[in-house]
């Protein structure tokens, strides 16, 4: 029988105090940096130079960095750029950036809405940023769920794979609200040792908590 199911070969977590790669410590927030500073610290630690990073809102930075770390040493160019899908989810959409935009329009005496904030009030902008950085042109989808729900992401990527719309899936969860943030991103392809099932993905998600 031909093995035609997806596997997980790599995954990455980012929380306020550490970054894990395949469940193992990669970067620790040993100096107790605040959220913004820790993201900047991660950016420096992984030694990339990408000026667009500094224009992003915090949640896009978080998702962007998680994917940077995930794709380090992975050669996606063996795939057609149209066959790489990105399927993300979260609970709070872009609520912090929504408040930032709202604060610019509360009263007409002090009215200064900015396109550079407004554009980030859509959760899929993060997918756009990741796609631009990595030249990924495949399927896009952003789901909003109360709590992480592996089934939603796994089912969607598996369906895309089974219908020939994607060969690879970058899936996960990127949430940022007030002082708490969490990112969990994984790579699903034909290679890897972990089955791409909701139960396995749930186990991986819970490694950081």
């Amino acid at each position: 029988m031909i093995n035609n199911s997806l596997k997980i070969s790599k995954y990455c977590h980012i929380s306020s105090d550490r970054v894990l790669v395949n469940g193992k410590p990669f970067i620790e927030n040993i100096n107790g940096l605040d959220n913004k500073s820790f993201l900047k610290h991660i950016y420096k630690s992984i030694e990339i130079a990408y000026s667009k990073f500094f224009k992003m809102d915090e949640i896009s930075k978080l998702g962007f960095l998680a994917v940077e770390i995930l794709l380090k040493d992975i050669n996606l160019s063996v795939y057609n750029s149209e066959d790489v899908s990105i399927v993300l989810s979260n609970s709070d959409s872009t609520i912090d950036t929504d408040y930032n935009h709202q604060n610019t329009i509360n009263d007409y005496e002090n009215f200064f809405p900015s396109p550079s904030i407004f554009v980030y009030t859509l959760p899929n902008i993060m997918i756009g940023e990741i796609s631009i950085r990595n030249g990924i042109k495949g399927e896009n989808s952003f789901f909003i769920v109360e709590k992480f729900n592996a089934e939603i992401v796994v089912d969607h990527i598996n369906s895309l794979f089974l219908t020939g719309k994607a060969e690879v899936g970058i899936g996960g969860w990127v949430n940022f609200h007030q002082e708490k943030y969490e990112a969990f991103i994984y790579l699903a392809s034909k290679n890897g040792n972990i089955n791409h099932s909701a139960s396995e993905v749930n186990k991986l998600f819970n490694l950081i908590t």
Binding site: F118, N140, K165
Partner: protein
């Protein structure tokens, strides 16, 4: 197979697809000057739902469903009225675990962030998952509502997702509903982009100078059982331009790929398409990009329209509103002219519809594009005309 069994549009032009379609046949636009200081401190062009009409419909419906009796927001009322009207045309049991609900929205109850509204509902009411929960509870649906928030392609993505859910046989029926408000949040944002038109928007026209916003809720019900209907889902796809977060690709790359994916899944070629419902926002860049994608697929001679000249850009509802109109065009074998269009103002030679006309329509393409470089498309056809 996946069939389109019912649809609805709640907008300035009516509370059903039929009512909306009638206005389109008569060439009426729902876009007019809005003077509402709560939304914006200067007059702007938009298509707005009449409050009294909405309340009237909502009050009639709210007693029909005994499952939850909480207070609803304006947006929730729009969604409830839309889902109920679509459901009423089917025998589908919304309380069945084999009936799924998908919600498509960009900003949901975003007006609850306004300082004077913050205390009117619990804080989490602004969350999109909560909106999904409110809707499913109202209708007594046992499943978790799947919420898609992917900018202006949300509606088309949601229909594609519904088809996937039915094909996987986990669901027999999926109710796809979507809505967005014309809120201060959104109007101020688009104003800051300077992308709002000073007159009702004019998709693909030489004189176009931006989009008009519109308020709508829309619902499309898909099912594995045709329920006596004859239009079915053939394929869909999405793709990213990987180019820019707030402007489309000049080469129409993502749109081209999304159409290609839909064609492959449908098992047809572009020569089988006989009508296109474009995204057609009337911003200079969007319409130009779509003309390039249409040209790259050799669809230059295929009649194309944009519904946005009638109902404005309804954001998370747009894909549903425009697919509902497309379904009615197919049922009535009538091509609706693209409102606001006079002279071709894009670089590629495409066939924008200038006269509403009767003609046999069998296989159609719906296009959508949005912020984040996102693009999506889907193909539908009449059963018996399967190419």
């Amino acid at each position: 197979m996946v069939f389109f069994v019912a649809d609805n549009i709640v907008s300035s032009l009516g509370m059903s697809t039929k009512q909306n379609f009638k206005s389109l046949l008569n060439g009426n636009t729902g876009i007019s000057v809005v003077e509402n200081n709560d939304i914006y401190n200067e007059p702007f062009q938009a298509s707005m739902i009449n409050d009294n009409v909405l309340e009237e419909h909502y009050n009639l419906i709210s007693k029909k469903y005994p499952y939850s009796n909480i207070k609803h927001t304006r947006l929730e009322k729009m969604l409830i009225v839309s889902v109920d009207e679509a459901l009423s045309k089917t025998n589908i049991d919304i309380t069945s675990h084999k009936t799924g609900i998908i919600l498509s929205t960009t900003k949901g109850n975003i007006n609850l962030l306004e300082p004077d509204k913050r205390n009117s509902f619990a804080t989490n009411r602004v969350s999109l998952w909560k909106l999904g929960e409110v809707i499913k509870k109202f209708f007594g649906n046992p499943n978790m509502t799947i919420v898609i928030s992917n900018a202006c392609i949300s509606g088309v993505l949601a229909i594609n997702k519904a088809a996937m859910m039915i094909q996987s046989e986990k669901y027999d029926n999926v109710v796809v509903t979507g809505a967005d408000l014309v809120s201060r949040f959104v109007v101020s944002g688009f104003m800051s982009f300077m992308s709002l038109s000073s007159d009702p928007c004019r998709p693909f026209d030489k004189e176009r100078n931006g989009l008009s916003l519109g308020e709508a809720a829309s619902t499309i019900i898909l099912s594995s059982d045709p329920n006596g209907n004859s239009i079915r889902y053939r394929g869909g796809g999405s793709a990213n331009d990987a180019n820019h977060i707030s402007g489309p690709s000049r080469t129409g790359e993502g749109s081209f790929i999304a159409i290609n994916k839909a064609l492959i899944e449908a098992g047809i070629t572009s020569s089988d398409i006989d009508h296109i419902s474009s995204h057609g926002t009337a911003t200079p860049y969007n319409d130009e990009m779509e003309s390039v994608a249409i040209d790259r697929h050799n669809l230059n001679k295929v009649p194309v329209n944009s519904i946005k000249g009638y109902l404005g850009h309804t954001l998370g509802a747009a894909g549903l509103v425009e697919t509902s109109i497309l379904l009615e065009e197919m049922r009535m074998n009538t091509l609706i002219k693209s409102a606001g269009f006079e002279n071709l103002g894009v670089s590629k030679d495409i066939s924008v519809i200038t006269q509403t006309q009767e003609t046999e329509i069998t296989t159609c393409l719906k296009m959508a594009s949005g912020f984040g470089g996102s693009n999506a498309s889907l193909i539908i056809s009449k059963v018996g005309n399967d190419k």
